[in-house]
Symmetry: C2
Subunit: 196 residues, 2 copies
Protein backbone atom coordinates (compact mmCIF):
# COMPACT_ATOMS: atom_id res chain seq x y z
CA UNK A 1 0.00 0.00 0.00
CA UNK A 2 2.21 2.80 -1.22
CA UNK A 3 -0.70 4.94 -2.35
CA UNK A 4 -1.43 8.22 -0.66
CA UNK A 5 -4.01 7.76 2.07
CA UNK A 6 -5.84 10.95 1.20
CA UNK A 7 -7.07 9.80 -2.22
CA UNK A 8 -9.11 6.62 -2.21
CA UNK A 9 -9.71 4.77 -5.41
CA UNK A 10 -13.22 4.76 -6.79
CA UNK A 11 -15.00 4.65 -10.12
CA UNK A 12 -14.97 8.44 -10.25
CA UNK A 13 -11.25 8.82 -9.55
CA UNK A 14 -10.38 6.19 -12.14
CA UNK A 15 -12.50 7.94 -14.75
CA UNK A 16 -11.08 11.36 -13.94
CA UNK A 17 -7.50 10.16 -14.16
CA UNK A 18 -8.22 8.34 -17.41
CA UNK A 19 -9.82 11.47 -18.84
CA UNK A 20 -6.66 13.51 -18.39
CA UNK A 21 -4.54 10.80 -19.98
CA UNK A 22 -6.94 10.22 -22.88
CA UNK A 23 -6.97 13.95 -23.60
CA UNK A 24 -3.20 14.05 -23.68
CA UNK A 25 -2.25 10.79 -25.36
CA UNK A 26 -5.46 9.52 -26.92
CA UNK A 27 -7.54 6.46 -26.09
CA UNK A 28 -5.38 3.98 -27.96
CA UNK A 29 -2.25 5.72 -26.83
CA UNK A 30 -3.14 5.27 -23.17
CA UNK A 31 -2.95 1.85 -21.51
CA UNK A 32 -4.73 0.60 -18.45
CA UNK A 33 -1.25 0.37 -16.94
CA UNK A 34 -0.74 4.10 -17.58
CA UNK A 35 -3.99 4.93 -15.83
CA UNK A 36 -3.17 2.66 -12.90
CA UNK A 37 0.29 4.17 -12.49
CA UNK A 38 -0.99 7.71 -12.03
CA UNK A 39 -3.19 6.33 -9.25
CA UNK A 40 -0.35 4.38 -7.63
CA UNK A 41 -1.97 1.05 -8.33
CA UNK A 42 -1.64 -2.02 -10.60
CA UNK A 43 -3.65 -2.29 -13.77
CA UNK A 44 -5.69 -5.25 -12.59
CA UNK A 45 -6.97 -3.28 -9.63
CA UNK A 46 -8.86 -0.92 -11.92
CA UNK A 47 -11.30 -3.72 -12.75
CA UNK A 48 -12.70 -3.54 -9.24
CA UNK A 49 -14.20 -0.17 -10.24
CA UNK A 50 -14.76 -0.23 -13.99
CA UNK A 51 -15.72 -3.11 -16.22
CA UNK A 52 -13.50 -2.30 -19.20
CA UNK A 53 -11.46 0.40 -20.88
CA UNK A 54 -14.37 1.09 -23.22
CA UNK A 55 -16.59 1.52 -20.16
CA UNK A 56 -14.29 4.32 -19.01
CA UNK A 57 -14.42 6.10 -22.35
CA UNK A 58 -18.19 5.95 -22.54
CA UNK A 59 -18.53 7.24 -18.97
CA UNK A 60 -16.28 10.22 -19.73
CA UNK A 61 -18.15 11.23 -22.85
CA UNK A 62 -21.61 10.61 -21.47
CA UNK A 63 -20.94 12.73 -18.42
CA UNK A 64 -19.39 15.50 -20.49
CA UNK A 65 -22.23 15.64 -22.99
CA UNK A 66 -24.88 15.69 -20.28
CA UNK A 67 -23.10 18.49 -18.50
CA UNK A 68 -22.82 20.54 -21.68
CA UNK A 69 -26.46 20.03 -22.56
CA UNK A 70 -27.64 21.01 -19.10
CA UNK A 71 -25.47 24.13 -19.18
CA UNK A 72 -26.83 25.07 -22.58
CA UNK A 73 -30.43 24.67 -21.45
CA UNK A 74 -29.76 26.73 -18.33
CA UNK A 75 -28.10 29.47 -20.37
CA UNK A 76 -31.03 29.66 -22.77
CA UNK A 77 -33.78 29.49 -20.16
CA UNK A 78 -35.92 32.57 -20.34
CA UNK A 79 -33.94 34.24 -23.09
CA UNK A 80 -36.41 35.22 -25.79
CA UNK A 81 -34.40 37.50 -28.03
CA UNK A 82 -32.70 35.52 -30.76
CA UNK A 83 -29.45 37.46 -30.61
CA UNK A 84 -29.44 37.01 -26.85
CA UNK A 85 -29.93 33.29 -27.44
CA UNK A 86 -26.96 33.03 -29.76
CA UNK A 87 -24.81 35.01 -27.37
CA UNK A 88 -25.89 32.88 -24.42
CA UNK A 89 -25.41 29.60 -26.24
CA UNK A 90 -21.95 30.61 -27.45
CA UNK A 91 -20.85 31.83 -24.03
CA UNK A 92 -22.09 28.61 -22.48
CA UNK A 93 -20.20 26.57 -25.05
CA UNK A 94 -16.94 28.44 -24.60
CA UNK A 95 -17.19 28.40 -20.81
CA UNK A 96 -17.76 24.67 -20.88
CA UNK A 97 -14.69 24.26 -23.07
CA UNK A 98 -12.51 26.44 -20.87
CA UNK A 99 -13.58 24.81 -17.63
CA UNK A 100 -13.48 21.19 -18.76
CA UNK A 101 -10.73 21.10 -21.37
CA UNK A 102 -9.79 17.45 -20.91
CA UNK A 103 -13.33 16.12 -21.15
CA UNK A 104 -14.11 18.27 -24.16
CA UNK A 105 -10.91 17.20 -25.88
CA UNK A 106 -11.86 13.56 -25.39
CA UNK A 107 -15.34 14.24 -26.76
CA UNK A 108 -13.92 15.97 -29.81
CA UNK A 109 -11.23 13.45 -30.68
CA UNK A 110 -12.28 10.01 -29.48
CA UNK A 111 -15.71 9.44 -30.97
CA UNK A 112 -14.02 7.06 -33.37
CA UNK A 113 -12.79 4.94 -30.46
CA UNK A 114 -16.30 4.22 -29.22
CA UNK A 115 -17.92 0.88 -29.97
CA UNK A 116 -20.65 1.31 -32.58
CA UNK A 117 -23.54 1.12 -30.11
CA UNK A 118 -21.92 3.58 -27.73
CA UNK A 119 -21.00 5.86 -30.59
CA UNK A 120 -24.60 6.13 -31.74
CA UNK A 121 -25.69 7.22 -28.29
CA UNK A 122 -23.01 9.89 -27.96
CA UNK A 123 -23.43 11.21 -31.48
CA UNK A 124 -27.14 11.62 -30.82
CA UNK A 125 -26.41 13.83 -27.82
CA UNK A 126 -23.84 15.81 -29.75
CA UNK A 127 -26.29 16.38 -32.59
CA UNK A 128 -28.90 17.55 -30.15
CA UNK A 129 -26.45 20.05 -28.70
CA UNK A 130 -25.25 21.35 -32.07
CA UNK A 131 -28.79 21.32 -33.42
CA UNK A 132 -29.83 23.85 -30.79
CA UNK A 133 -27.23 26.33 -32.07
CA UNK A 134 -28.17 25.65 -35.67
CA UNK A 135 -31.83 26.26 -34.86
CA UNK A 136 -31.08 29.59 -33.20
CA UNK A 137 -29.17 30.83 -36.23
CA UNK A 138 -31.91 29.62 -38.57
CA UNK A 139 -34.49 31.45 -36.44
CA UNK A 140 -32.48 34.63 -36.54
CA UNK A 141 -32.13 34.48 -40.31
CA UNK A 142 -35.84 33.82 -40.79
CA UNK A 143 -36.68 36.77 -38.55
CA UNK A 144 -34.35 39.00 -40.51
CA UNK A 145 -32.18 39.67 -37.48
CA UNK A 146 -29.17 37.78 -38.83
CA UNK A 147 -27.73 38.23 -42.26
CA UNK A 148 -25.71 35.33 -43.53
CA UNK A 149 -25.93 33.51 -46.84
CA UNK A 150 -25.72 29.96 -45.48
CA UNK A 151 -26.95 29.64 -41.90
CA UNK A 152 -25.73 26.07 -41.49
CA UNK A 153 -22.27 27.10 -42.57
CA UNK A 154 -22.25 29.87 -39.99
CA UNK A 155 -23.41 27.40 -37.36
CA UNK A 156 -20.42 25.17 -37.99
CA UNK A 157 -18.10 28.15 -37.84
CA UNK A 158 -19.52 29.24 -34.49
CA UNK A 159 -19.43 25.74 -33.01
CA UNK A 160 -15.84 25.23 -34.07
CA UNK A 161 -14.60 28.61 -32.88
CA UNK A 162 -14.80 27.47 -29.28
CA UNK A 163 -12.02 24.97 -29.87
CA UNK A 164 -9.71 27.85 -30.63
CA UNK A 165 -10.37 29.24 -27.20
CA UNK A 166 -9.56 25.93 -25.56
CA UNK A 167 -6.19 25.53 -27.25
CA UNK A 168 -5.26 29.08 -26.42
CA UNK A 169 -6.63 29.62 -22.94
CA UNK A 170 -4.57 29.02 -19.80
CA UNK A 171 -6.37 29.44 -16.47
CA UNK A 172 -3.31 31.20 -15.11
CA UNK A 173 -3.53 33.86 -17.79
CA UNK A 174 -4.52 37.45 -17.51
CA UNK A 175 -8.20 37.15 -18.32
CA UNK A 176 -10.90 35.23 -16.50
CA UNK A 177 -12.76 32.60 -18.48
CA UNK A 178 -15.98 34.62 -18.37
CA UNK A 179 -14.17 37.44 -20.12
CA UNK A 180 -13.03 35.15 -22.94
CA UNK A 181 -16.51 33.66 -23.23
CA UNK A 182 -18.06 37.10 -23.65
CA UNK A 183 -15.58 37.87 -26.39
CA UNK A 184 -16.57 34.73 -28.26
CA UNK A 185 -20.21 35.53 -27.79
CA UNK A 186 -19.53 38.79 -29.61
CA UNK A 187 -17.62 36.93 -32.35
CA UNK A 188 -20.62 34.68 -32.92
CA UNK A 189 -22.96 37.63 -33.40
CA UNK A 190 -20.50 39.16 -35.84
CA UNK A 191 -20.21 35.93 -37.84
CA UNK A 192 -23.95 35.73 -38.40
CA UNK A 193 -24.10 39.40 -39.32
CA UNK A 194 -26.35 40.38 -36.45
CA UNK A 195 -27.20 44.05 -36.79
CA UNK A 196 -29.39 44.40 -33.74
Amino acid sequence: MQRSMTVSLSRATVIDAACELFAEGGYRGTSMKDIAETLGVRASSLYNHVSSKQDILLAIMDKAMDRAIVAQEAALAGVMDVSGQLRAATESLVLDFLRNPAEVTVCNTEVRSLDPANRAAIVAKRDRYAGRVRAIIADGCRAGRFETVHPDLAAFAVLEMGNGAKSWFRPSGRYPDTHVAREYGAFALRVVGCTS
Copy 2:
Protein backbone atom coordinates in the same frame (compact mmCIF):
# COMPACT_ATOMS: atom_id res chain seq x y z
CA MET B 1 1.59 -11.33 -56.51
CA GLN B 2 -2.16 -11.02 -56.23
CA ARG B 3 -2.08 -7.25 -56.26
CA SER B 4 -3.79 -5.25 -58.95
CA MET B 5 -1.34 -4.51 -61.73
CA THR B 6 -2.68 -1.03 -62.27
CA VAL B 7 -1.46 0.39 -58.94
CA SER B 8 2.22 -0.12 -58.30
CA LEU B 9 3.49 0.17 -54.77
CA SER B 10 5.82 3.04 -54.01
CA ARG B 11 6.72 5.31 -51.14
CA ALA B 12 4.07 7.78 -52.27
CA THR B 13 1.24 5.25 -52.53
CA VAL B 14 2.07 3.83 -49.10
CA ILE B 15 2.04 7.29 -47.56
CA ASP B 16 -1.21 8.26 -49.24
CA ALA B 17 -2.98 5.10 -48.13
CA ALA B 18 -1.67 5.52 -44.59
CA CYS B 19 -2.88 9.12 -44.53
CA GLU B 20 -6.47 8.11 -45.20
CA LEU B 21 -6.35 5.46 -42.50
CA PHE B 22 -4.62 7.71 -39.96
CA ALA B 23 -7.26 10.37 -40.55
CA GLU B 24 -10.04 7.89 -39.96
CA GLY B 25 -8.71 5.70 -37.16
CA GLY B 26 -5.76 7.61 -35.74
CA TYR B 27 -2.05 6.79 -35.78
CA ARG B 28 -2.14 4.33 -32.89
CA GLY B 29 -5.43 2.94 -34.07
CA THR B 30 -3.99 2.02 -37.45
CA SER B 31 -1.56 -0.88 -37.82
CA MET B 32 1.01 -1.51 -40.52
CA LYS B 33 -1.13 -4.53 -41.38
CA ASP B 34 -4.14 -2.27 -41.94
CA ILE B 35 -2.16 -0.08 -44.31
CA ALA B 36 -0.80 -3.11 -46.17
CA GLU B 37 -4.25 -4.63 -46.56
CA THR B 38 -5.70 -1.61 -48.35
CA LEU B 39 -2.80 -1.95 -50.79
CA GLY B 40 -3.28 -5.70 -51.23
CA VAL B 41 0.08 -6.50 -49.70
CA ARG B 42 1.66 -7.96 -46.53
CA ALA B 43 2.83 -5.65 -43.77
CA SER B 44 6.49 -6.57 -44.14
CA SER B 45 6.46 -5.46 -47.77
CA LEU B 46 5.88 -1.87 -46.72
CA TYR B 47 9.41 -1.74 -45.36
CA ASN B 48 10.77 -1.87 -48.90
CA HIS B 49 9.43 1.67 -49.30
CA VAL B 50 9.35 3.30 -45.86
CA SER B 51 11.72 2.86 -42.95
CA SER B 52 9.15 2.85 -40.13
CA LYS B 53 5.62 3.79 -39.17
CA GLN B 54 6.92 7.00 -37.64
CA ASP B 55 8.63 7.78 -40.95
CA ILE B 56 5.22 7.62 -42.64
CA LEU B 57 3.62 9.99 -40.15
CA LEU B 58 6.40 12.52 -40.45
CA ALA B 59 6.24 12.40 -44.24
CA ILE B 60 2.48 13.03 -44.24
CA MET B 61 2.68 16.02 -41.94
CA ASP B 62 5.78 17.51 -43.49
CA LYS B 63 4.28 17.38 -46.96
CA ALA B 64 0.96 18.81 -45.76
CA MET B 65 2.57 21.70 -43.89
CA ASP B 66 4.80 22.62 -46.81
CA ARG B 67 1.85 22.59 -49.17
CA ALA B 68 -0.21 24.80 -46.87
CA ILE B 69 2.62 27.29 -46.40
CA VAL B 70 3.28 27.54 -50.13
CA ALA B 71 -0.44 28.07 -50.80
CA GLN B 72 -0.60 30.77 -48.16
CA GLU B 73 2.39 32.60 -49.60
CA ALA B 74 0.94 32.40 -53.09
CA ALA B 75 -2.41 33.70 -51.90
CA LEU B 76 -0.80 36.67 -50.15
CA ALA B 77 1.65 37.56 -52.94
CA GLY B 78 1.01 41.08 -54.13
CA VAL B 79 -1.93 41.71 -51.83
CA MET B 80 -1.21 44.95 -50.02
CA ASP B 81 -4.54 45.81 -48.42
CA VAL B 82 -4.75 44.30 -44.95
CA SER B 83 -8.39 43.27 -45.28
CA GLY B 84 -7.55 41.67 -48.62
CA GLN B 85 -4.73 39.83 -46.89
CA LEU B 86 -6.99 38.43 -44.20
CA ARG B 87 -9.56 37.40 -46.77
CA ALA B 88 -6.91 35.76 -48.98
CA ALA B 89 -5.24 33.96 -46.09
CA THR B 90 -8.56 32.64 -44.80
CA GLU B 91 -9.71 31.49 -48.22
CA SER B 92 -6.38 29.76 -48.77
CA LEU B 93 -6.69 28.03 -45.39
CA VAL B 94 -10.23 26.84 -45.99
CA LEU B 95 -9.51 25.69 -49.53
CA ASP B 96 -6.54 23.71 -48.28
CA PHE B 97 -8.76 22.10 -45.66
CA LEU B 98 -11.49 21.24 -48.14
CA ARG B 99 -9.15 19.81 -50.75
CA ASN B 100 -6.91 17.83 -48.44
CA PRO B 101 -9.17 16.77 -45.59
CA ALA B 102 -7.26 13.64 -44.64
CA GLU B 103 -3.86 15.29 -44.48
CA VAL B 104 -5.20 18.23 -42.52
CA THR B 105 -7.00 15.94 -40.09
CA VAL B 106 -3.74 14.07 -39.46
CA CYS B 107 -1.92 17.37 -38.92
CA ASN B 108 -4.53 18.54 -36.46
CA THR B 109 -4.83 15.38 -34.39
CA GLU B 110 -1.56 13.47 -34.50
CA VAL B 111 1.06 15.97 -33.43
CA ARG B 112 1.16 14.08 -30.15
CA SER B 113 2.15 10.88 -31.95
CA LEU B 114 5.31 12.41 -33.38
CA ASP B 115 8.65 11.62 -31.79
CA PRO B 116 9.94 14.67 -29.91
CA ALA B 117 12.47 15.68 -32.56
CA ASN B 118 9.95 15.35 -35.38
CA ARG B 119 7.34 17.16 -33.35
CA ALA B 120 9.57 20.18 -32.89
CA ALA B 121 10.07 20.47 -36.62
CA ILE B 122 6.38 20.24 -37.45
CA VAL B 123 5.28 22.57 -34.68
CA ALA B 124 7.74 25.15 -35.97
CA LYS B 125 6.11 25.05 -39.39
CA ARG B 126 2.64 25.22 -37.89
CA ASP B 127 3.61 28.24 -35.81
CA ARG B 128 5.01 29.95 -38.86
CA TYR B 129 1.73 29.38 -40.70
CA ALA B 130 -0.48 30.56 -37.83
CA GLY B 131 1.87 33.43 -37.09
CA ARG B 132 1.23 34.87 -40.54
CA VAL B 133 -2.52 35.10 -39.82
CA ARG B 134 -1.88 36.54 -36.39
CA ALA B 135 0.41 39.17 -37.88
CA ILE B 136 -2.18 40.22 -40.44
CA ILE B 137 -4.81 40.75 -37.77
CA ALA B 138 -2.36 42.65 -35.58
CA ASP B 139 -1.48 44.86 -38.56
CA GLY B 140 -5.13 45.55 -39.26
CA CYS B 141 -5.79 46.52 -35.67
CA ARG B 142 -2.77 48.79 -35.53
CA ALA B 143 -3.88 50.49 -38.73
CA GLY B 144 -7.36 51.01 -37.32
CA ARG B 145 -8.93 48.89 -40.05
CA PHE B 146 -9.96 46.10 -37.70
CA GLU B 147 -11.77 46.56 -34.46
CA THR B 148 -11.41 43.71 -31.99
CA VAL B 149 -10.46 43.85 -28.33
CA HIS B 150 -7.97 40.96 -28.34
CA PRO B 151 -6.38 40.39 -31.74
CA ASP B 152 -4.72 37.11 -30.74
CA LEU B 153 -8.06 35.75 -29.59
CA ALA B 154 -9.61 36.63 -32.93
CA ALA B 155 -6.70 34.95 -34.70
CA PHE B 156 -7.39 31.68 -32.92
CA ALA B 157 -11.07 31.94 -33.74
CA VAL B 158 -10.33 32.48 -37.44
CA LEU B 159 -7.79 29.65 -37.61
CA GLU B 160 -10.15 27.24 -35.93
CA MET B 161 -13.20 28.15 -37.99
CA GLY B 162 -11.74 26.36 -40.98
CA ASN B 163 -12.09 23.03 -39.20
CA GLY B 164 -15.81 23.54 -39.14
CA ALA B 165 -15.82 23.72 -42.90
CA LYS B 166 -13.88 20.49 -43.17
CA SER B 167 -16.24 18.47 -41.01
CA TRP B 168 -19.23 19.86 -42.84
CA PHE B 169 -18.15 19.94 -46.46
CA ARG B 170 -18.74 17.04 -48.85
CA PRO B 171 -17.28 17.41 -52.34
CA SER B 172 -20.48 15.97 -53.76
CA GLY B 173 -22.53 18.76 -52.21
CA ARG B 174 -24.28 21.62 -53.87
CA TYR B 175 -21.60 24.25 -53.56
CA PRO B 176 -18.07 24.26 -54.97
CA ASP B 177 -15.22 24.54 -52.51
CA THR B 178 -14.32 28.01 -53.76
CA HIS B 179 -17.79 29.17 -52.82
CA VAL B 180 -17.41 27.88 -49.26
CA ALA B 181 -13.94 29.40 -48.98
CA ARG B 182 -15.28 32.84 -49.97
CA GLU B 183 -17.96 32.55 -47.32
CA TYR B 184 -15.36 31.85 -44.66
CA GLY B 185 -13.25 34.74 -45.91
CA ALA B 186 -16.24 36.96 -45.20
CA PHE B 187 -16.70 35.38 -41.76
CA ALA B 188 -13.10 36.21 -40.90
CA LEU B 189 -13.52 39.86 -41.79
CA ARG B 190 -16.66 39.99 -39.69
CA VAL B 191 -14.93 38.40 -36.69
CA VAL B 192 -12.20 41.04 -36.63
CA GLY B 193 -14.75 43.79 -37.08
CA CYS B 194 -13.41 45.00 -40.40
CA THR B 195 -15.38 48.04 -41.48
CA SER B 196 -13.62 48.71 -44.75
